[in-house]
Symmetry: C2
């Protein structure tokens, strides 16, 4: 394939190389040793939430399903593996017909999670499952970190609108995934056109300081913008003097001006002044958007300010201090043949990195009022009372994806799942996970 | 274009949509207002380094040049912009023939930088330059953050080998860029096969705990691995008991065993014990690789341990506490026509976000011994003594890329540039930028 024609920034023709080399060498050794087809169960979980966080948010599931579907080996990829002598010929032959044929269960996208929650369970032969480790973790660790930050911000914003605008602060494709994860976490729109293109997320944006500076005066700039984009546009009013800019803006657009944006200064103070000035000028319906290194704490601190929308960049796409999750992908059970009984397995060495073996189920127990009170994780039969409250749903069955859904479904699910947590879940202050994890 | 055939996780057929919407609406308003063709100069710089850091590292330049080349509008992209009514028909017509035709100068990849360094200068019409803002910043902000962390880690490692293995902790394509940036910053190899495929970075990797757990015994697992990968392989020795694993490993592979890997526990203590045990078993040339949430401080703390290589994941791909840079892309000068004289411009509102107008040059002044002593930035003529020490080089001229280079050139440049800084540059402790920035 001539990837040069595509104009893509990374010329990788499938997801099969979003993989750590050891996954391939393990497949080679297992094929040769006769263990590659052993029936295996891998689980994704995290031993802890980021410090102080009260819940996690599963995001990236839809992307993960695409990645599993596209995990295949064309001639270019096989040629690379051969030329670099990463695996031997029998392994190349096995890879050339690779299609994941097993089952994947998982917490549905937007669901919340806690330490020990078995977020994803991948079942099949050892070889077919072990190859997916890195791409699955990349997607879940990144997207869930962004969604968790977005969720905190959307709690803090109350019902006010949130705009994702962090593309410039992260890798250009991580930006697209970030806009998607932010939407799952409760954001309303994005400035990133690629995210609008790929995931149909609503996009917004009007102008930057450069546009004002391009013109001979702020008046010229505002007039050009209103002439072209209409009175409903958002004028950026902090290039020179804010009060003068607001006067000019309403003078040009009239009281029907859509919005003004403030991108610097003491936002609390400036927003109050601008609101008062707009009201005095008769522009009572003109909205105020603020943008300037906001995070969930800054958003919360503006609760009493007359702000209509927040634009959030850096702190969103970097997970507000926690740019990744610590999810791992572990073999928890395997048979000694392709169909034999499963035996739980777990690493046993000293240190903190031990984990619980066995194929797990999970359910969220609720109290009499329907408020969640525990994350229950077990390896045996599911207690009758928890059967209907199980969290893992089938995502892939026999290699076929069975759980595609619109992004809005994940967003709605997240908002509902968060609402079912104890009230302290949305406290911004540092604390323990809002639900305990109980093992049965 | 049928992107479904590509198996790509993000179906964006060009870099043109790695863009914030306001860049398009600004182009529309400027086209209508007659200012789109005004000759303009944009510069990328940062007002500060991440807290406590002593220098920054320019990375991503090669990717940036690819992105500028691929910034074009096919029918799919234009159809999206039309259907979503993001811009009007005259703007779509203008975009359909878009090719960047201006000049880009920049610090070459791998060079170090300081607050105020004009890292990149983009010159052309306002419209053609303003469109590149987001994609340029995405690439530089991400890649430079990773390279800066990598550089600190490579200083701390002395001459020991560094393996990038963070793919699972970041977006799957950010991972590829991270492996590339880590290489620029001084790493030796990566576990990420996509990075090996795309950028020819050396790749490494052998096995994980899952491989040991797959087998009926550790002995079976080691034998299968050595049978398939040879005695030169790296055996992971901390699934159960480390001392027993080392004994088993040498028993199976003999004293010619390539390496052992330790992924948990007190690495300093365990490395000493394992070294002693290996030596006693006659495996004096068997190397020790350690991996386990390492950062530059952990690497430095293992300086006295008998460690041969470090594998670094999370802390590398998240920039060791600073996952992004704060680089901005600002209009610093523009003419009132396509060819008129440039007028410096700058935002003037209250608050910290002001910047210095005017088209800038930069040079690094050295003392008599050749050690750098200041980053000199100016807007007027370059003083004679600094002419030969200028930092900006031509990257794109009249729309043509003129500065493609192998990745090793950037890596070598970084190592040389870092070596020319005062010794305190590589102190890991927090401090001020190691060079002052002087404006003339």
């Amino acid at each position: 394939m001539n990837t040069a024609d595509l104009g893509l920034p990374v010329d990788v023709p499938s997801t099969a190389l979003f993989t750590d080399q050891y996954e391939f060498t393990m497949v080679q050794a297992a094929l040769r040793g006769g263990t590659a087809e052993r029936r295996s169960v891998f689980e994704v979980f995290t031993r802890r939430l980021p410090e102080g966080r009260r819940y996690g948010v599963v995001a990236g599931t839809g992307r993960l399903l695409d990645a599993v579907e596209n995990f295949r080996f064309d001639a270019g990829v096989l040629g690379f593996l051969r030329e670099r002598r990463i695996v031997d010929e029998p392994t190349l032959a096995w890879l050339s017909s690779y299609r994941f044929s097993g089952d994947i269960w998982g917490y549905p996208e937007g669901e919340v999670y806690f330490p020990g929650s078995p977020l994803l369970r991948v079942e099949g032969s050892f070889a077919e499952c072990v190859l997916l480790e890195t791409v699955i973790l990349s997607i879940l660790n990144h997207d869930s970190a962004i969604a968790a930050a977005a969720s905190r911000m959307s709690s803090a914003a109350g019902g006010r609108r949130l705009i994702e605008m962090g593309a410039r602060r992260t890798h250009e494709l991580a930006a697209v995934a970030s806009a998607r994860a932010a939407y799952v976490g409760g954001f309303d729109s994005t400035s990133d056109l690629a995210a609008g293109f790929r995931y149909s997320i609503p996009t917004v944006g009007t102008s930057a300081h450069a546009f004002t500076l391009l013109h001979d005066s702020e008046r010229d700039a505002f007039r050009a913008q209103v002439d072209s984009l209409g009175r409903g546009t958002t004028l950026l009013v902090d290039t020179y003097d804010v009060a003068e800019a607001v006067r000019t803006a309403v003078g040009i657009a009239g009281p029907g001006l859509g919005a003004v944006r403030i991108d610097s200064g003491d936002l609390l103070l400036v927003a109050h002044r601008v609101r008062q000035q707009l009201d005095e000028l008769g522009a009572r319906d003109t909205r105020i958007t603020v943008t300037s290194d906001l995070d969930e704490y800054a958003i919360a601190s503006l609760a009493a300010a007359p702000v209509d929308a927040y634009g959030v960049g850096t702190q969103l796409v970097t997970g507000s201090g926690h740019p990744t999750c610590s999810m791992v992908y572990k073999l928890v059970a395997r048979a000694t043949s392709a169909s034999g009984p499963l035996v739980p397995v777990a690493k046993k060495s000293l240190g903190a990195k031990t984990s619980l073996g066995g194929r797990k189920w999970a359910a969220r127990r609720a109290d009499a009022e329907g408020v969640a009170e525990a994350e229950v994780v077990g390896t045996g039969p599911v207690p009758e009372v928890l059967v209907a409250r199980q969290l893992l749903v089938p995502l892939v069955q026999g290699g076929e994806i069975v759980a595609r859904e619109p992004l809005d479904a994940a967003r709605d699910r997240h908002i509902a799942a968060r609402a079912a947590l104890p009230l302290s879940a949305t406290q911004l202050s540092r604390g323990e996970p809002v639900l305990p994890t109980e093992y049965v």
